[in-house]
């Protein structure tokens, strides 16, 4: 019974991720094509993709490698771009920390923007229930597989895809398609509007710092709106107690 419920959730996780695959595929293809065109071997690209498992960080690293940047600069850039995983880790910790290490580590390695967002949105529907980790595992594993396969396909296809297809735009579109359902109230709307606006204004900042600055601003805006809406209710509770 328990095992079949887990299996069902795992399959639901895969099904939730699959519609996002067309948005991930072009990004992986572009990564594979770019890396192959820069002269890296199949083995090097595969190793890089497995070790990074972070698309935007890998794209940035490839660009910096192409510009002969210092390895330390590349490492710092990747860490800055990936700082958001720290926030995902904190959000997942109460749900994941009881898992045995053999499940915790692979699942932690497979945390992605897509599977995290899908699980958080699903969990928001039942805020007090524990997160469905089988669902998270299903969406995380299928995301990981889609990513690896699409990079490998990109390496094989090489530069055969014409730029006129604008496949690069499928990535922001897929983030947009996850973002819209995540906006549930005025606080999350403020977070999104602020994050988007600051990201545009701070786009010129070096090392993709604009993304971090924008994310923190958006979160602050969400908290501010939440705090300004709730004080009346919490004061009343305080008075009764």
């Amino acid at each position: 019974m328990h095992a079949s419920a887990g299996r069902q959730s795992f399959q639901q996780g895969i099904q939730a991720l699959l519609p996002l695959a067309p948005g991930v595929l072009p990004f992986g293809l572009v990564t594979g094509v770019t890396a192959a065109n820069q002269g890296y071997s199949f083995f090097e690209i595969l190793g890089m993709t497995l070790l990074f498992y972070a698309g935007s960080a890998q794209m940035a690293a490839l660009q910096l490698l192409n510009e002969q940047a210092l390895p330390l600069v590349i490492l710092i850039t990747v860490v800055v771009i990936n700082l958001r995983f720290l926030m995902y880790s904190a959000a997942l910790a109460p749900h994941m920390h009881r898992l045995p290490a053999k499940a915790r580590w692979p699942l932690g390695y497979m945390i992605s923007d897509q599977s995290f967002a899908l699980s958080m949105v699903r969990n928001q529907q039942q805020p007090h229930a524990p997160m469905d980790l089988w669902f998270f595992a299903g969406s995380s594993f299928s995301m990981w597989l889609v990513w690896q396969v699409s990079v490998i396909l990109g390496v094989m296809v090489g530069s055969g895809i014409p730029a006129s297809w604008s496949l690069d735009f499928a990535i922001p579109l897929s983030f947009l398609a996850i973002l819209v359902p995540a906006i549930r109230n005025s606080a999350s709307l403020s977070a999104a509007l602020t994050g988007g606006l600051v990201a545009v204004l701070a786009h010129g900042l070096p090392y993709n710092l604009g993304l971090i600055v924008a994310s923190v601003s958006g979160i602050a805006a969400g908290l501010l709106v939440e705090t300004r809406k709730k004080p009346a209710a919490s004061h009343q509770q305080g008075a009764k107690a």
Binding site: L65, F85, P94, H97, Y109, D113, P172, L176, A191, G195
Partner: protein, 112 residues
């Protein structure tokens, strides 16, 4: 960059990223998540996703000399409306990419 440096970089990135992903999960109980961070986390998806999307939609692609890339902006609006009304990521993607390709290929014909 020689092979050793390249692989050293890849492994260093792999370890650093794994540490970022596992930090709070492994440290749960030993160091707890501050309540403010706990509250802040519910706004992470909205703000990070918007920060990833907005520049790609609003700013023209690198190397382009236009001020606003209208086909991309309009395609994003169409995709967002599809996502809002149908709550289906595949429909929004298809609508967004379809309208982008249509506009990129048809608009030059109309304008001349």
């Amino acid at each position: 960059m020689n092979d050793l440096t390249l692989w050293g970089l890849f492994v260093a990135v792999g370890i650093a990223t794994l540490v970022l992903r596992l930090a709070f999960i492994e440290g749960h109980g030993r160091w707890s998540v501050p309540p403010l961070l706990q509250r802040a986390l519910q706004y992470v998806p909205a703000s990070v996703l918007a920060a990833l999307v907005a520049p790609a939609v609003v700013l023209p692609p690198a190397g382009s000399d236009v001020l606003v890339d209208w086909p991309r902006l309009l395609a994003a609006v169409i995709a967002a409306l599809m996502a809002w009304f149908f709550r289906n990521t595949l429909y929004s993607l298809l609508a967004g990419m379809g309208s982008l390709l249509a506009m990129q290929n048809l608009l030059p014909l109309w304008i001349g």
